[in-house]
Amino acid sequence: MDDLLAARLQMAVSLGFHIVFACIGMTMPVLMAFSEWKWLRTQKQEYLDLAKAWSKGVAIFFAVGAVSGTVLSFELGLLFPGFMQHAGPIIGMPFSWEGTAFFVEAIALGVFLYGWNRLNRWVHWASGIVVGISGVLSGIFVVSANAWMNSPAGFDYQNGAYTNIDPVAAMFNDAWFSQALHMTLAAFVATSFAVAGVHAFLLIKNRNNTFHRTAVKIALSFGAVSALLQPISGDISAKDIAQRQPAKLAAAEALYKTSQPADLVIGGIPNDKEERVQHAIHIPRLLSFLAHGDFNAEVTGLDKFPKEERPPVFITHIAFQVMVGLGVLMALAGLLFLVFSAWWKKILSKKWWLTCIAWLTPAGFIAVEAGWTVTEVGRQPWIIYGFMKTSDAVSPMPGLQFSFYIISAVYILLTVILIWLMWRQIATVTNFYPSARTD
């Protein structure tokens, strides 16, 4: 394995691991605070039980998220020192704000988790709100730094030097809003569907359980709304990259040749040698519309870019299909949930419906990983789009693959333990929470 590939894979593993915890850290505080608010208003036991049970899970995920985030802040330099040396001063600002937001989040979470019996109830609830707000903000700041890699701004580039640095312009680059919106919604979709799925699975065996039924209702409400908003945000993103990063859109759509009008290619296997997609479904003119809002618009294909500046098509295209496919599936489930809640409440406790929701447990997180793959692999070979290649930023130290092997082994081990721990936590839920017992 060459060092560049090892460094990229290590970053991918580290980010892919961390992103799950980051999503949970952005979403769960909101769900917990919501449940606690319902409890404060109604005094119903199940809301308090849920807030407490969730907070135990969050404590575990938050800790692993905090340490894996620390790893990332170092890894940017350990793996891509050439990048950090130049990008550090330009995108330091969102990182400074992210540090602040994360700090507030960690402190507020400490208060929330350990303050159940020592604080005024509303003060305790407010600390949960602070965790939620600062969690979402820290996510937005980090994504803004990533958006800068896709849409560099706030500097002049002369003879290899980055001058006239304007950190504010860099932070509010052209991509920050569309990326931050998409990621925040994605965090809510993924976490909500995962939570709903686990509780739905437990509800199948035990259909009258108030604890699990309430959990599914809360989680799916958040999941449904965000899953229905996500396609709108996706459309904003697609139109944005059609303008700014046509190579990424072309790779995601496997559009080898510039076309006017362009078909939307669904599924299929891209073949780089023959520059065509096999076994795909083509919908005429739809890509032109989706990318530019006009059924007859020209969409730039990969042929406009020299071979060495094209992103890997196969991975980007497949990842994009996975993300969109699962996104559509969850939006559909969300729509059904809203319809059933309004008119056919009985269906919500039917076995087939709960089974569907249970199957969707990992869907959101798979979509998040796929979407992240699209944005990162789709930017290759650039680390700073149009300015610095990933291969010029990588650490000169030989043997980077050993770091990669070790980090991967540790993260796989942690994943296995975490799943096992969560399972144990769930299996004993009836021992701790009155509303989880069924008579």
Binding site: E75, P89, Y114, I165, V168
Partner: protein, 333 residues
């Protein structure tokens, strides 16, 4: 502006050494504190350890945004020790949380404890190794040498590991002093006082050895130390506080005890800053990396200062509140 940033970086590092240090040290102290100690130590650090470690993230962000060349240099040359630090941080945080929240009480607990203790020791050692390598001056920026010369020799030596052990002993000392105030019973308190004495002794010996090892490597740490009046005064005060401490151990007053130990750490770090300033990384051929020759452009510094200032306005009261809420006995989870 630059000076304000340097001061905030310095403060972040001091707070990390004291608060984060107490957390690491707690894992080391736990080895000597018996079964009961495991419980009290977990209770004492569970609500605060994550927040304590954010000081490290803050210091890193200041370093890579404010002094990019320093960050990219140490993360290239000191890749291996830093990677070990990171693995230590991950394993330590995870195993601590797993142990704290795992509902089962069977065999798995043994492994969490094992990992927690080992990584609580290894991580500060390699933090110290990294700092040692920045001081020692074996880093060769013009090198096109072998793997050993470029990536191992700067840190794989006696001086750096003495620094590492010094860090671990210092952290364990801080933790032991901290724990004296966390246990109500006289018997338990006695145990931690004993441990505090032991680690104070170890820290002193290792502190002397750091100087000896530096001389042995040809780095004139003694001379640099005596050239800085401030450092001499600082170390003098650290030593003068030792008899005060020994007396406080006999009649513990929690507040004074913590204040004196904290002051010692503060003085040690300030003394070290005074020797180093403004150099952060000593280079073999004298091309040292300083705050001045690596500073980011003014626009970056200004924005960073704004973010840090607003951040500290939010963080400091919040931190105070967190500690206030959890002063005294912790709630059972």
């Amino acid at each position: 502006m630059l000076l304000s940033i340097i001061i905030i970086l310095g403060i972040a590092f001091i707070l990390y050494a004291i608060l984060g240090g107490a957390d690491y040290g707690a894992g080391i102290v736990e080895i000597f504190a018996g079964k009961k100690g495991e419980h009290t130590i977990t209770k004492a650090i569970a609500p605060v350890w994550e927040a304590n470690h954010v000081w490290l993230i803050l210091a890193i962000v200041i370093l890579f945004a404010g002094f990019p060349l320093i960050f990219s240099t140490i993360s290239t040359v000191l890749h291996i020790p830093l990677m070990i630090v990171l693995l230590g941080i991950v394993l330590r945080g995870s195993s601590f949380t797993f142990r704290h929240y795992d509902v089962g009480q069977n065999g798995s607990r043994k492994y969490y404890t094992l990992f927690f203790r080992i990584s609580s020791f290894i991580t500060p050692v390699f933090l110290g190794v990294t700092l040692g390598a920045m001081i020692l001056g074996e880093i060769d920026l013009s090198a096109s040498g072998t793997f050993y010369e470029q990536y191992l020799r700067p840190w794989l030596n006696i001086f750096c590991f003495t620094m590492g052990l010094f860090c671990a002993a210092l952290f364990a000392y801080i933790a032991a002093v901290f724990m004296i105030g966390e246990v109500p019973s006289v018997g338990e308190r006695k145990r931690y006082i004993q441990l505090a004495r032991l680690f104070l002794f170890a820290t002193t010996i290792l502190g002397i050895l750091v100087f000896v090892a530096a001389e042995w490597h040809g780095h004139p740490l003694f001379r640099e130390f005596f050239a800085s009046t401030f450092s001499v005064i600082a170390l003098g005060m650290v030593l003068l506080l030792v008899p005060v401490l020994l007396r406080l151990f006999r009649q513990p007053n929690i507040l004074y005890l913590r204040a004196v130990a904290g002051l010692q750490v503060l003085l040690i770090l300030l003394g070290w800053y005074a020797i180093q300033f403004p150099i952060l990384v000593y280079e073999k051929h004298g091309n040292h990396l300083t705050f001045y020759n690596t500073q980011a452009p003014a626009a970056t510094q200004l924005q960073m200062l704004i973010a840090l200032f607003v951040g500290l306005l939010l963080i400091v009261p919040a931190f105070y509140y967190l500690f206030k809420v959890f002063k005294g006995a912790q709630e059972e989870q």
